[in-house]
């Protein structure tokens, strides 16, 4: 081994603590990068492959009923490649040994064969045999949740008739990668099933022989979806078509795209922060190394080492730190990606989802880390290279200091010398101190954002389940039902109170903006659904006019008092002008609200309801569900308390893990910055500190000079971090505001305290490591060395 390389290894050995701290931050950066890009890649790749192989539809439409002959006209629309008609319907299921209500979404498939569009991926068993009306393929997550295998039996209530079904196979569909029931927020594999049955059997059950109520389309390459959708809507209008839409409005596809967007943000943001901090740390460390090695550099150059040799030497030092960090980052990233993929597979049902780290991502990780490091180290290395040997032989001039404004002030006269040393050192190295404070601040900010999400999501559900959704059970009827059926519900055992609502699917239009949702018609003073404003104050329903969720009103660019167009997508399908009477604020979903009788009048019907909210006695749940299934025309039963429990469990599982992860990573930044600063400050001040010890300062007094400076930086960093974190949180809550949910921008005192605490703990940890050195400070040898 060449001697200069041996020097390299010894330098590294001497600096192992700092090298390790910086490597950890680099590793965190590379890990987040690898994690994000690998997952992004595997999800996008799996999505693309699954969509292609199963021929996922481009356009979707639901309608009431159209004769099969219409499909020819649909297929003839310019731009349409293929059309497939089918029947889709909601059903109820009973699973042996499971008492909760289970909802099902039944799809027809061509008798005995795969559909041309949205083909199934069979995991087990087979499609229903041709001509069989008692066989059904079921979705994999539902099968897993109930441990169902091909050959097992189920009972279904299809259009009011009880049918005994046999599971022929277990399948996945590109339409149901994210398998979420209508009006649900999270997948519930126990209580929601997707099923596929032969077309003839479904048609018989729903009296749709020779007819269809759903169609899916693929488009010709390059064809624009807009004109196709318009043409479909025109053709299907007489058949109760409720408006075709493209993939963007397909629920499963949308959730998947949201996830991909989030991964994209993560792939850029987190690595930038971590690698930026490590670049800064490396620049400080290399600057220090080169300052102390001036004479060695001069000697080497005097004996004929070239500038290139010197650049390579110090470049290699940085390179090794980067390499150690990058390798650790790649390994951890690969490990974490593997685990995260398992989490994804639970929510996104692909036939396969591998987190395989492509070599190019490893290269990307190393290159990005190396680039950041080069940026940080370049200046220091250039200084080493450009030193003339003679100049470098001389010790560097003593640092120049100035009195700062604090000291010139009245307060300044009260400062003791130790405090002056601290203040002047900070002022002298203003740039470094600022970047250090920013680095530690970033760490506090990351911790703040991490815990903010948790607190804010908790707050979201508090609002949703205490102030908005006050019922225990929500019931939907198959068709609008006369109001008097509420009386019947009131007498079901376990029901304490029932309140009816009318639900009409609509398209709300204001100029070029439109949105599909439904209008909820409710009692003037609803007891089981709270209408609240931004400050959570109750709002009462106006006798006429529409209330909209504020998010939706913004989306449609409407203000209270503005008129808007309502296209009713049920029954007579009229288009009406209605006034926006006000806005409500709710964290989940977007809705339109109206007085129920007023809505009935708009619909030109008597006092009808689409469903009911119930307050129930939890102790009598079994009895209640048995009885509710016997109420005619009940399409689905949703348990609100259950939904809340599941959502909170989900939050606890995923958000907390993510948060802990983030805290660990963020903590590593604070630790590395403080530790690195402490080590360098210690090395630079060793002589001064030893002098003070000789002059009679105690260890504690000497330690204070070093620790005070670092503690002060951390103290300054905390409010900086709060500020940045608050900004991040605001940006995050705005970026994540979508029609499905809005995370409220609330940061509790605890959140602020927590992020400060995290930084303080990391600071204390790294200072503890330094105190060890302070205690071993050798007075005699420190006095002999000349800087």
């Amino acid at each position: 081994m060449k001697t200069i390389h041996r020097k390299l290894l010894r330098d590294l050995g001497r600096l192992k603590g700092q090298v390790a701290a910086i490597a950890v931050v680099i590793a965190a950066g590379v890990m987040t990068l690898i994690l994000a890009v690998t997952n992004l890649e595997s999800i996008q790749h799996s999505q693309q492959r699954f969509y292609e192989e199963q021929r996922f539809a481009d356009v979707f439409v639901a309608l009431t009923r159209a004769p099969e002959s219409v499909s020819e006209r649909l297929g003839a629309i310019p731009g349409v490649n293929r059309v497939e008609t089918r029947i889709r319907a909601g059903i109820r299921l009973e699973v042996p040994g499971y008492s909760d209500p289970v909802r099902g979404q039944l799809h027809s498939i061509p008798d005995g064969r795969q559909p041309d569009i949205n083909a199934l991926y069979l995991r087990e068993g087979s499609l229903p045999e041709p001509g069989r009306s008692d066989q059904v393929a079921i979705s994999e997550p539902f099968a897993e949740a109930h441990d169902l295998r091909a050959g097992d039996r189920l009972t279904a209530i299809i259009n009011g008739r009880e049918e005994r079904l046999t599971v022929s196979g277990i399948a996945l569909s590109p339409e149901w990668i994210y398998q979420i029931g209508p009006a649900d927020i999270l997948p519930d594999y126990e209580r929601f099933a997707v099923l596929w049955m032969n077309r003839r059997a479904v048609a018989n059950a729903f009296d749709l022989d020779g007819a269809f109520n759903s169609a899916v389309f693929t488009l010709q390459a390059g064809a624009d979806a807009e004109p196709v959708i318009d043409a479909i809507d025109e053709i299907l209008a007489p058949y109760g078509g409720i408006g075709a839409h493209d993939r963007d409005d397909q629920l499963s596809h949308r959730f998947l795209e949201e996830e991909i967007d989030q991964l994209r943000v993560m792939a850029v943001m987190l690595p930038t922060i971590f690698l930026g901090v490590s670049a800064f740390l490396l620049s400080v460390l290399m600057g220090r190394i080169i300052r102390t090695q001036r004479q060695a550099i001069a000697v080497l150059k005097a004996f004929g080492y070239s500038n290139r040799d010197m650049a390579l030497h110090y470049g290699a030092l940085t390179g090794i730190v980067v390499l150690v960090g990058a390798v650790a980052g790649v390994l951890m990233g690969g490990w974490a990606a593997d685990h995260l993929v398992q989490v994804y597979l639970e929510y996104f049902r692909f036939p396969e989802l591998d987190a395989r780290i492509a070599p190019r991502y490893i290269l990307l990780g190393v290159a990005v880390a190396g680039g950041a490091a080069a940026l940080g180290t370049w200046r220091a290395v250039r200084r080493a290279v450009s030193l003339a040997p003679a100049e470098a032989m001389r010790p560097p001039a003593p640092e120049t200091f100035k009195q700062g404004w604090i000291e010139r002030s009245r307060l300044g006269r009260l400062l003791d010398q130790s405090t002056r040393i601290i203040l002047r050192n900070l002022a002298r190295h203003r740039f470094k101190a600022t970047l250090s404070a920013l680095g530690i601040g970033l760490s506090a900010a990351l911790m703040l954002v991490g815990s903010f999400q948790f607190g804010a999501v908790d707050k979201l559900f508090d609002t949703q389940y205490r102030l908005v959704q006050k019922s225990d059970v929500i019931l939907h009827f198959t068709d609008p039902t006369p109001e008097r059926s509420l009386n019947e519900l009131m007498h079901v055992p376990g029901v304490q109170f029932a309140e009816g609502f009318r639900n009409v699917p609509v398209r709300l239009i204001n100029e070029q903006h439109d949105y599909r949702t439904s209008i909820q018609g409710m009692d003037t003073e609803p007891r089981l659904l709270g209408l609240i404003d931004k400050q959570h104050r109750p709002i009462s329903l106006p006798p006429e006019g529409l209330l909209l969720t504020d998010f939706l009103a913004d989306h449609l660019q409407l203000r209270p008092g503005d008129p808007l167009t309502v296209e009713i997508l049920e029954g007579h399908r009229r288009t009406l002008e209605v006034e926006l009477a006000g806005v409500v604020s709710e964290p989940l979903g977007v809705s339109a609200y109206m007085e129920r009788r007023a809505l009935n009048r708009l619909m030109r019907e008597g006092p009808a309801i689409s469903g009911a909210w119930l307050l129930t006695d939890n102790a009598r749940n079994d009895e209640l569900f048995d009885a509710l299934w016997d109420v005619p025309r009940v399409a689905s039963i949703g348990l609100i308390g259950d939904a809340e429990r599941r959502i909170r469990e989900y939050i606890a599982d995923t958000v907390l893990v993510t948060m802990g992860f983030l805290l660990l990573l963020a903590g590593s930044i604070a630790f590395a910055v403080v530790y690195n600063n402490a080590r360098i400050a210690f090395a630079e001040r060793e002589r001064e500190l030893a002098t003070l010890r000789v002059l009679g300062f105690t260890r504690a007094e000497v330690s204070w000079i070093l620790i005070g400076e670092l503690a002060l930086i951390t103290l300054i960093a905390i409010p900086v971090g709060w500020l940045m974190g608050t900004g991040f949180a605001l940006a995050l809550s705005e970026a994540m505001a979508m029609d499905m949910f809005r995370i409220p921008f609330v940061i509790s005192v605890q959140t602020y305290a927590f992020s400060a605490l995290g930084v303080v703990v990391a600071t204390i940890l790294s200072l503890l490591l330094i105190t060890r050195r302070l205690y071993r400070l050798d007075m005699v040898s420190a006095l002999k060395t000349v800087e």
Binding site: P398, Q417, L695, G696
Partner: protein
Amino acid sequence: MQATESVNKEVIFSTRGLTKVYRMGEVEIHALRGVDMELYAGELTVMLGASGSGKSTLLNILGGLDSATDGVVRYGEQNLVRAGEKVLTSFRRDHVGFVFQFYNLISSLTARENVAIVTEISRNPMRPEEALELVGLKERMDHFPSQLSGGEQQRVAIARAIAKRPAVLLCDEPTGALDSKTGIRVLEAIEHINRELNTTTAVITHNQVIGEMADRVIQLSDGRVSDVHVNDSRKSPRELHW
């Protein structure tokens, strides 16, 4: 070889059989091999010795920076060899003034503040301004070390050392990093302090000439006292040449 003239004077420091052995890697180094010596109140003593003679080790032990392997160091009634870290710290804080070869000023503090950092922790200090005036630096009190010449820096270091009114002033090669003209300026300051404040002073150096300004010269070689010489009269530093 004790100097009989000094018997009636008060002994500040005395050592008996002082030995120091330390390890440098694999090698045992006997820095001191049984040193017996005294420092008398108010005297200016120069300890002369070549590099490796043990003079620095002796000074470090007298100043409470280092511990002896064996023997006795008596400071008044106290045996420093047995003293713990706490006792040594307060010994340095209250009784000893140090001057180093490389000045060792705190670069972020002005001259006045470099003195103040010591007076702030002392029991009965003089004002920093007073101490700086004693070394002739009253005019440059608010300068930072980077704005002072080497000799000026060393005089600040002397002011820092004497501001606490120490019982003993220990100077380790105070002129070692200076040219002769500046060195003499620094020695003048030391002599001035010794005379004005009557501070017991020990200067270690390898420079024989400096011995001429002392009351007594202790010669060290190979870790032992090889000679003690009492000058009949002290020369003024201005009369010295090297």
